[in-house]
């Protein structure tokens, strides 16, 4: 990762030079929402590498339905911030071809529940072409997916399908929980030579945090996007979470502290690969593990973590690994979604159960 410096960007052959940017790249620490942090990260990627393209539905003049790409088409043009036809398979399929031609497409899927028309392209093509070609072809494609619930949306707009992609070899699946991480991790995703599913916790789009805009991620430093981070240190129980559930876990930890229980919160940041090392080190310290995510518990990330923690921490465990998450139901209507989502109380209930063994 390098500190950002202004630089001349080479233009692709035969293209007119882009007009100079209206404002120089921002630097310093700013307080931004998570969605603005992603916007800033995308802007930095577009400035840094002329091969970066954004593609998606309504990402141009509108700036995306969540305004994550706000202002980018105005500054980088409609050839680099592309309003695509309304067809998800087409978006990902053409992104694969663009990547084969040397571009670095960043696709926006408008909502989690709309990714399935592209599921075939993502799992049978994007995930496998590097393998099929024995490494000759790399596909640096990023697929941004606003995911998760809690925003009062209608059907198909609140889902958490990350495990379907984590279960597919060849894909990386990452998800930031804070604006600071969002700014850096989106740049790392773009710089990664591998396809990356970048899940954005849409329920946290409006959460604010300090973002160091002096950071520019480069291809030499994409490894750290795979690493979990200890978001809060504790000694009695480890709560592993990612995306929107990290903030929930932190609030639960605060409440537990009032009851004299010390909770360590691990923000996984990456679902594939899974940073088992950081997680196992934490559970060996605390002896207890609770996993929290919005996605259904059945066959989910929590199950994978429970198996790994059991294998690696068997003699350290004071309690079975417990899972808190969505039920084996379709995402319910929004008037009752807060009974479906793993909120602070359900996390605390699991912490209490873990402590009672």
């Amino acid at each position: 990762m390098s500190q950002h410096t202004e630089q001349q960007v080479a233009q692709p052959a035969g293209r007119p030079a882009a007009p100079p940017l209206a404002t120089p790249p921002a630097t310093g620490v700013q307080r931004l929402t998570l969605s603005r942090a992603i916007n800033a990260g995308l802007r930095r990627a577009l400035e840094t590498d002329p091969k970066v393209l954004l593609m998606g539905e309504d990402i141009g003049a509108l700036g995306g339905v969540f305004r994550v790409t706000d202002g980018l088409q105005k500054d980088f043009g409609s050839d680099r911030v592309v309003d695509t036809p309304l067809a998800e398979s087409g978006i990902v399929g053409t992104a694969i071809g663009l990547a084969m031609r040397g571009y670095r497409p960043v696709c926006e899927i408008q909502f989690d529940g709309f990714i399935f028309p592209a599921f075939d392209q993502i799992t049978t093509q994007l995930a496998k072409i590097h393998y099929r070609s024995r490494g000759r072809l790399t596909l640096p494609v990023v697929i941004r997916v606003p995911y998760g619930g809690g925003i009062g949306a209608i059907e198909h707009h609140s889902e958490s399908p990350e495990v379907l992609f984590a279960h597919t070899p060849g894909l990386r699946v990452i998800t930031p929980a804070t604006p600071a991480d969002a700014f850096v991790m989106i740049q790392q995703a773009v710089a990664s030579p591998d396809p990356v599913l970048f899940f954005e916790p849409k329920g946290r789009y409006w959460d604010k945090g300090d973002v160091d805009l002096g950071i520019t991620a480069t291809a030499d430093d994409v490894a750290s996007m795979d690493r979990a981070r200890v978001a809060r240190a504790g000694t009695d129980v480890t709560v592993a979470a990612y995306g929107a559930s990290v903030a929930t876990a932190l609030r639960a930890a605060e409440a537990a502290a009032a009851d004299g229980v010390s909770v360590e919160v691990v923000d996984l940041r990456s679902v594939s690969p899974l940073d088992a090392e950081t997680l196992v080190a934490s559970v060996r310290r605390t002896g207890r593990c609770v996993v929290v995510h919005e996605a259904p518990v059945f066959y989910g990330t929590g199950g994978e973590i429970a198996a790994r923690v059991t294998e690696e921490c068997f003699f350290h465990l004071q309690a079975p690994v417990l899972r808190v998450g969505g039920f084996h139901t379709p995402y319910p209507v929004n008037k009752i979604e807060h009974d479906y989502l793993p909120g602070v109380d359900r996390v605390l209930d699991a912490v209490d159960r873990a402590m009672s063994f």
């Binding site: 036809p85 071809g97 049978t124 490494g135 000759r136």
Partner: protein, 390 residues
């Protein structure tokens, strides 16, 4: 029986009997071809058919797990393939052995996939011929995206024939029902991408005739997308060349995408696992055998006195030699080592995969005999009956 639908023109320059026919628009596109060029096309078709037949035999001998024949489609593939410029890029389906040959793929390399030693088999970027795609229609979008990249690189409409670049995707009649093919038409049309969508309508998608895929001639499928279409006699190598040349020129000059329907016939089975006798008649086979793409070019070249005995004899020998080389090469294709399954899943390290790779290596190593076990084995060796003096 599947025969040409009457409601769309079929571009044909060489009749099934091998007679040259004038076409006001397309004849000029083959005017520069001399007898040597035509013999080259003939040679390509004969060699590809020899290869195809050899591969079918190798499958029957258990050397290949599966084989998808190109039998009968040689003219559509060689004609269109020979119209390509070196800088053009091709996204094939999985039956384009003839096109592969025109792009410089060494034919035995195609069999790595079917023998099960490689998912790909050639350097696609060097040859500008992408790996075969088995999921029907998926690659048409990759071609479209690639063409959008070519546009962004400023390699369309420069007027420089060495730079202007077209992208071609090959697919079949069955693929036209896939959503991805419709999406490719949408994206290519909207972007005005330098793309040729070359559909080989070989009349059958395994057991389903084209009538199960479309109520309109496939050449018209592009109409609603704003993509012009043309139907060419895919068993006529000259017409396939001419129609493809025109479509490529439109793409390279900035005129946008074209849908070509090459009307041809899958003379063989879908694959070696298929049994066409269950769903089509011998009368239909016979109808198309009369329209064999190789026969008609042979008839034409013979009629103009340009297919000498020496050439035919040399080509026979070359075909036989190709068959021998294919057999030898395929039989020598050994299984890769088991640990290669972990290679190239990702371009950068992935902790979960790396842990599995390490576990597997350790597991494999646990079967390697220790020195002590080897010593015991040696001590265990007893003379066999034959070695005992009787």
């Amino acid at each position: 029986m599947s025969t040409p639908a009457p409601d769309v023109d079929l571009v044909q320059l060489l009749t099934p009997a091998g007679e040259l026919r004038e076409h006001p628009e397309y004849s000029p596109r083959i005017a520069h071809l001399d007898a040597g060029d035509l013999r080259g096309m003939y040679r390509d078709m004969v060699l590809v058919r020899a290869f195809d037949n050899e591969a079918t035999s190798l499958q029957r001998q258990g050397e290949l797990g599966l084989w998808a024949q190109s039998l009968g489609q040689e003219a559509a593939q060689i004609g269109s393939g020979r119209a390509l410029a070196p800088q053009d890029y091709v996204f094939p389906s999985y039956r384009e052995h003839g096109v592969a040959h025109t792009r410089g793929v060494d034919l035995p390399d195609i069999l790595k996939l079917f023998r099960g030693v490689d998912h790909g088999g050639w350097d696609s970027d060097a040859l500008r011929f992408h790996l075969y795609t088995l999921v029907i229609g998926s690659h048409t979008l990759h071609a479209t995206g690639y063409a959008m990249g070519v546009q962004r690189d400023g390699l369309v409409g420069t007027g420089d024939p060495a730079r202007d670049t077209a992208v071609v995707t090959y697919f079949g009649d069955g693929a036209t029902s896939q959503g991805d093919v419709s999406e490719a038409l949408v994206f290519a049309a909207v972007a005005n991408a330098p793309l040729v969508l070359f559909c080989q309508n070989n009349q059958w998608a395994i057991s389903e005739p084209t009538s199960r895929q479309s109520r309109v001639p496939l050449a018209r499928r592009g109409d609603g997308f704003g993509v012009p279409g043309v139907r060419v006699d895919g068993n006529d190598v000259l017409a396939s060349y001419a129609v493809m040349s025109e479509a490529l020129e439109r793409a390279r000059s900035g005129g946008g995408p074209t849908l070509v329907e090459a009307f041809t016939y899958r003379m063989g089975a879908h694959t070696t696992s298929d049994d066409p006798t269950r769903y089509r008649t011998s009368a239909e086979d016979e109808y198309w055998r009369q329209r064999d793409p190789i026969d008609r070019l042979r008839a034409y070249l013979t009629s103009i006195g340009e297919l000498g005995d020496d050439f035919v004899a040399a080509l026979d020998a070359e075909s036989a030699e190709l068959g021998r080389r294919v057999r030898t090469t395929v039989r020598a294709m050994g299984a890769p080592s088991a640990t290669t399954m972990f290679d190239h899943v990702y371009a950068t390290p992935h902790a979960t995969l790396d842990a599995e790779r390490a576990w597997f290596a350790e597991y494999e190593a646990s079967f390697e005999p220790t020195e002590q076990a080897q010593a015991l084995d040696r001590a265990d060796e007893r003379p066999t009956v034959g070695e005992v003096a009787l």
